[in-house]
């Protein structure tokens, strides 16, 4: 009969409750503290992004607390690993909101995870700022709780195509993008931008995550006679694509977006990525004072160069600190209002200012190229325009 099993269900629920009551004892709320929850992939395929984000946020929180940058409020930060999995990300966000009682969420990095988290933050009414997801579907939904300090892919796609057409005189392009949330949105935006600016898109192959052999697609691109390849994916993929295209004798101009902007790209790609043009929001060896200061501190603490995601996450904490100070409250609605009015900050990656969709339109968009072991700035574009 069912009884036997019903009992077992009972036990499990009880065990869960026990875990609940034991674990639930931790959270005590001191007055005048703002709790920030951070969700990101600290393990799994994109672990380097999540770990960079974590390091930068910890750095920013320590600094702000040391110099009382958020007025009377002390910043307290909670990190959760989502492995880049949307279900786990939603659970982690839930945990931060319900158990750690955070007032605001930073995260996630994968667009699919951010989208899943948005359901949670939206239902709970907690502001969420993603410093890593660039997919256009995130801000297209008109979710009032969501802000983005990563640069919108649409800006990047437009800027890149424009640069290719006007400066490099390229008329026929191919896109080569990852079949993941990031790449698929990039492909769509690049195609739209190309159409808008009258550039012919001759091929648009994709690849799946984890693919390592890109030669078949590169051969197709070659056959179609593209003058440039626009990549939209992670730096490991980009480095391999660059290498394999050179091996196949596909010596066309390569373009890329901020997702692959890491010094590792140059290390991994070697000669093949020399001359690659990509947009990014942050250059560690920039002469800008803010950048220099950030890089110096980050290096001192972690003995490595920060990745662009780290810079964006770092800025995000400063934006939150300013919003708390301005709102003088940790209520979600007050924080949200204060965030929408963000202005007058000069940070590492720009002068943040949110559009009514939640996009940061005060970002500097840097068009850079790879020269030797470094990125070299070609031109700075203000996304507000």
């Amino acid at each position: 009969m069912l009884k036997k099993y019903a009992k077992l269900i009972g036990i499990i629920i009880m065990l869960v409750m026990m875990v609940v009551s034991v674990a639930g004892c931790g959270g005590n709320t001191a007055a005048k503290t703002i709790k920030i929850g951070v969700v990101g992939p600290e393990s799994g395929g994109a672990a380097q992004l999540g770990q960079g984000q974590r390091k930068a946020i910890q750095l920013a929180v320590d600094e702000i607390n040391a110099k009382k940058g958020a007025g009377e409020y002390k910043l307290e930060v909670f990190f959760e690993d989502d492995e880049g999995n949307p279900t786990k990300s939603a659970s982690a966000t839930n945990k931060l909101i319900q158990q750690s009682k955070v007032n605001i969420i930073i995260g996630a990095i994968h667009s699919s995870a951010t989208l899943a988290d948005m359901v949670v933050t939206g239902r709970a009414g907690i502001p969420q700022i993603t410093a890593g997801s660039t997919g256009s579907s995130i801000t297209e939904q008109g979710n009032k709780w969501l802000f983005r300090t990563a640069v919108n892919d649409e800006f990047q796609a437009n800027a890149l195509i424009k640069y290719a057409k006007e400066v490099k005189g390229i008329a026929k392009i191919a896109t080569f993008t990852a079949a993941d949330d990031y790449g698929q949105s990039g492909a769509k935006l690049l195609a739209a931008a190309a159409k808008k600016q009258g550039v012919e898109l001759v091929a648009n192959p994709t690849y799946n995550n984890g693919d390592k052999d890109f030669k078949p697609q590169l051969l197709t691109i070659k056959e179609q006679g593209a003058q440039a390849i626009f990549m939209w994916g992670l730096y490991t993929d980009a480095a391999l694509i660059a290498k394999q295209s050179r091996q196949l004798g596909v010596n066309v101009q390569l373009f890329g977006a901020s997702g692959m902007a890491a010094l590792k790209l140059i290390e991994l790609g070697g000669d093949a990525v020399q001359g690659l043009i990509l947009t990014q929001t942050f250059l560690p060896d920039s002469k800008d004072a803010k950048v220099k200061e950030f890089v110096t501190k980050y290096k001192a603490k972690y003995q490595e160069n920060p990745i662009p995601h780290a810079a964006q996450a770092y800025d995000t904490v400063y934006i939150i600190a300013a919003a708390v100070k301005k709102a003088n409250s940790t209520k979600p609605e007050d924080l949200r209002t204060a965030l929408t009015k963000t202005a007058g900050l000069k940070l590492v990656t720009g002068e943040p200012k949110f559009s009514n969709r939640g996009d940061d339109i005060g970002k500097y968009l840097l068009i850079t190229t790879i020269k030797g072991p470094n990125f070299e700035l070609i031109k700075t574009v203000n996304t507000a325009n």
Binding site: S43, G44, G45, A46, A47, Q48, Q51, A179, P205, T206, Y207, N208, G210, D211, K212, D213, K215, P216, Q217, L219, T220, Y235, T236, A239, L240, K243, R246, Q247, L248, G249, K264, E267, L268, G270
Partner: protein
């Protein structure tokens, strides 16, 4: 032609990984899901030896095969042996090896970090342009070393005492016992040999693919698919399956659809399983190692 050529190096690697599956499957009937992570481990050890300790390629290859081979023995002793002694159902064995895969992968993440690492090709990756087609030195190296490794395996199985014992156990466990063969030892040898095979595949792909902690999952699965397409448990079948899968992927990716490339591979796999479960390249009764 170019598509076909491009499939060869990756095919060689699939073939080596497929062999490592076949070897364990025939000799001890175990479907070892941690095989892909042995590839990863081999790549990392090779990377560490060449890049951190500045060894040259060949000793690094050999050392990494030895170290990963030992890992294989440890896995056999600590996990497969108790499972066999307890006559565990096959599904438990599969899950245990999955557990090994999870552990190996995450230990690698803890040791070497999440970043991809460069493993420069020992011969450089400049392309050789031969009229319309181009291949790199590394590609040639992969195919050559891959074939060499397979030849060494073949030599080991054909001409050494332990190798022959391994085949004997695979073909008739009971009779092998009557010959005085220690089946536990030959299981361990099978695990060591197939882990070492995986390691060699890891070092070969490393310059092409970079080294990442999660590189094993994809290569492992493809190697397994190659083994089954060719005929799980057969050496010539596994090799043929590897090269077949490599070239098929190259063609499917270039000519049909890159996004659906793996879907095509798997659909073919299910078709092969359905119509000819013994493998495409095995003509008569299933041939064992």
């Amino acid at each position: 032609m170019q598509y076909f050529l491009n499939g060869l190096p990756i095919g060689a690697i699939y073939a080596v990984v497929a062999l490592s599956y076949s070897l364990i499957y025939t000799s001890s009937g175990v479907l070892n899901w941690s095989q892909g992570d042995m590839v990863m481990l081999g790549a990392y050890i090779g990377f560490t030896l060449t890049q951190v300790f500045h060894w040259s390629f060949t000793p690094a290859l050999l050392a990494s095969m030895v170290v990963v081979g030992l890992v294989g023995v440890i896995v056999q002793r600590l996990i497969l042996k108790p499972l066999r002694e307890r006559k565990a159902p096959p599904i438990n064995v599969v899950i245990a090896t999955l557990g090994v895969a999870i552990i190996t992968r995450n230990i690698a993440l803890a040791i070497w970090g999440p970043d991809a690492q460069v493993f420069p090709s020992p011969v450089g990756d400049k392309p050789l342009q031969l009229s319309m087609i181009s291949v790199t030195h590394q590609d040639i190296l992969v195919v050559c070393v891959g074939i060499l490794v397979m030849a060494i395996l073949q030599y080991f199985l054909k001409y050494t005492k332990e190798g022959k014992a391994l085949r004997a156990v695979a073909q008739d466990r009971r009779a092998a016992v009557l010959m005085g063969v220690d089946t536990q030892k030959s299981d361990a040898v099978a695990f060591a040999a197939s882990a070492a095979l995986g390691a060699s595949a890891g070092i070969l792909v490393a310059p092409i693919f970079f080294v990442t902690f999660n590189m094993g999952a994809g290569i492992g699965l493809k190697g397994f698919v190659a083994a089954v397409i060719g005929g799980l448990g057969s050496i010539p079948g596994s090799i043929a399956g590897g090269f077949f899968l490599g070239t098929l992927e190259s063609l499917a990716g270039g000519q049909i659809s890159s996004g659906y490339r793996d879907a095509i591979t798997f659909a073919l796999l299910i078709l092969v399983l359905w119509l000819k479960p013994s493998g495409l390249f095995i003509t008569k009764s299933r041939q064992k190692v």
